[in-house]
Symmetry: none
Subunit: 244 residues, 2 copies
DNA sequence: CGTTACAACTTGTCATAACAGGTAATAACA
DNA sequence: TGTTATTACCTGTTATGACAAGTTGTAACG
């Protein structure tokens, strides 16, 4: 492994290190969109690793859409996806305030608890490991619109005790912990509201909610928050643009 | 390769054949959600292949969300959930078929009608101008999952009369009209299903749907389709990633 | 009976090797 | 000069092998 190009002190698997180097080169424009990346055999020599290691790195980059490969031709940098369509998904306050809405939130609870299996997996925690759970109701012009249940690893969430949690949490974390947000993975589904949501959002039985699951990572890909949002269907809408 | 379990005359790579067998077993319920799948070494023996071949099949299944694996524990069947990647502008068939789902559609009606105010505005039509409305029910593995109401400007939609509308319409339009898709604007909300949707999708009263509105433009920014999709909440999920 | 150590089993990473199938450039031939 | 064949290079598939790291069950010990 050529340590001048990978992270010398890193304990990361080799293929991850190679992927990271190549990813940087692509995102920085060192490889222009559609420019050919060195062949597998060149990369083997460059990084001093076996072919399977190079291939695994390339396969992951392919999965992330950063490259495409063609048999006989080689591997090419992809055009970085337009991200502006995604920037329309913002923190609640950040999104709503500029539109003239008055936003607020009520903290129902903040507590340390054992993470269930799904949260463990998402936050990459150990068995029986604890998380900090923050449960909040969000208001839009005085109306409860969303029940948010957020899980933070303890080393992150413990910083929230004693702070005002009625606004967006991430700007606060960015400041308190000197971390930068990286990316989020989001899924959306329509569901009937369960009893807890009905009660907290003052909904009638049978009301539909948008069920959002969101995993947020920092700049170093470390998971920092996994949350479930139940948003009442009658007052909130996600809008965004897709490019082809 | 154990030909009694894979397609004997197939020229597909072995890992694809294995993936296909396992996928069928998962989607058919032979492996219940969260049930443990045989270990790699058992599958090696079962299929008479090397470990790398098994691993590649499992890795692909993992990418498709059909299994999850845990070091030291094994590989487990996931609960099947149809997902659509919002970062790509794809038709329903285009999105679902590669994932092994059987898709179909029933055309309820296709007719010329006067555009209502909202449709006029979206498609940039004049007052009282006509549109072609296509109303369809979409099926996933025989289950009705979506009621789609699409509006096309007359000069575009009139080309659809007499054609098979049970598949994706856009590839057809791209060919018939020699046009290229450009972008789409999408909004998502959770709503209760109205009576028409309840009836067409065979849902119980009070079922939530994902309500999608989508305006699609061609490469020259000309609006070509405005549609409302009512998608049942219990079998469909939107997923995407946000980069910051 | 509770705790600890160990063995067996499981997936994760990486190496070496070989053959298959596809592409592009070059050489040979008409 | 155009066409065909060949060669070098490229990715795709598959095999064998070894070690690392994690899980679970069992045996031994206090």
């Amino acid at each position: 492994m050529n340590t001048s190009e990978a992270n010398a002190g890193s304990h990361q698997p080799l293929y991850i290190q190679i992927k990271t180097v190549l990813k940087k080169q692509i995102l920085s424009g060192e490889y222009a969109p559609y420019e050919r990346i060195p062949s597998e055999s060149v990369l083997m020599k460059t990084f001093g690793v076996s072919r399977i290691t190079v291939r695994q790195a390339l396969k992951d980059l392919n999965s992330e859409g950063l490259v495409f490969t063609s048999q006989g031709k080689g591997t090419f940098a992809n055009k970085p996806k337009a991200t502006q369509d995604m920037q329309q998904l913002q923190g609640f306050d950040e999104a709503m305030r500029p539109k003239g809405y008055k936003t607020s939130a009520r903290v129902v609870s903040i507590r340390e608890r054992v993470a269930d299996n799904n949260v463990q997996e998402k936050l990459q925690l150990g068995d029986k490991e604890k998380v900090i759970e923050v449960l909040r109701v969000r208001y839009l012009n005085k109306e409860p619109v969303s029940l948010d249940r957020s899980f933070f690893p303890v080393n992150i969430g413990e910083k929230l005790f004693g702070h005002d949690l009625t606004g967006d949490i991430f700007p606060m974390l960015e400041e308190l912990l000197n971390l930068r947000l990286g990316e989020a993975e989001v899924s959306l589904e329509a569901r009937p509201a369960d009893d807890e949501v009905l009660q907290q959002l003052e909904l009638e039985k049978g009301s539909p909610v948008m069920w959002v699951e969101r995993l947020t990572r920092d700049q170093n890909k470390r998971p920092i928050d996994y949350e479930y949002l139940a948003i009442r269907g009658d007052s909130y809408k996600y809008c965004f643009k897709i490019e082809r």
